[in-house]
Symmetry: C2
Subunit: 140 residues, 2 copies
């Protein structure tokens, strides 16, 4: 059902996670920016990611080839429906991880920083346990 990847080896799974990471973070950023300010430009992404606009441009080009993003030269960046879907899933997972760390007692700043990396390595089973933990702590 899933990908026929080498998931048996934990390190191979980490590499697969990292391969998907850029797309997830970028579409999530585009989605947020569009919802907050109406549009998302290359320079916005550069600021958010903390990299040069050159790096963003190249990555945006690839995400467009992958069908996640639409763009014309010197124009804002939009998400395709496929990109919107990925963004929604990514944001949902991001939010669960963040709320979980906060529920665990991690200070806000640390939780936000750690979440940005952890989110990409959390499988469904772990995500389910995190969601359950959040429910337990809030319905207390």
């Amino acid at each position: 059902m899933s990908e026929p990847v080498k998931r048996n080896n934990p390190f191979a799974k980490v590499r697969a996670d990292h391969a998907a990471e850029t797309a997830e973070d970028y579409v999530e950023a585009v989605s947020d920016m569009v919802h907050r300010t109406g549009e998302c430009r290359v320079r916005d992404l550069a600021k958010i990611m903390g990299v040069s606009h050159v790096t963003v441009t190249r990555i945006v080009t690839r995400l467009q080839e992958q069908g996640l993003i639409e763009t014309e030269p010197y124009r804002p960046v939009r998400l395709t429906s496929s990109g919107e879907k990925l963004a929604a899933n990514s944001r949902q997972r991001h939010e669960i991880v963040l709320q979980f760390l906060l529920a665990l007692g991690v200070p806000q700043d640390d939780a936000e920083r750690d979440t940005e990396g952890i989110e990409h390595h959390v499988g469904q089973a772990t995500l389910d346990r995190m969601a359950a933990f959040i429910r337990e702590r809030s319905g207390d």
Copy 2:
């Protein structure tokens, strides 16, 4: 006191985490292999990491330049004292994250896979909370 890195940006922190990741996983693997079988060879690391021996050789060369590993051509790989120290810290953190996920109720296989990625993104504050959670659940 810490590194003067751009830790304000979560994405920059993730990039810094990833930059340190290879060294941590490799010295941890070398340490484990040496303790279990007496020595660690390039082919052992290739098997563990799930990559070709070529990739391992190049990485081992760099870790040697960084003073974490010692090696002569066609010889086993050993850790320097600096490498041992990093391995000890990495293993300790790895173990805390793993035990934490298990205490949370994540199945063994999922916990082991997810830990390999998550460990590198867990800051001190989060690690402290995880350790506390383990103690609570075991002293119950």
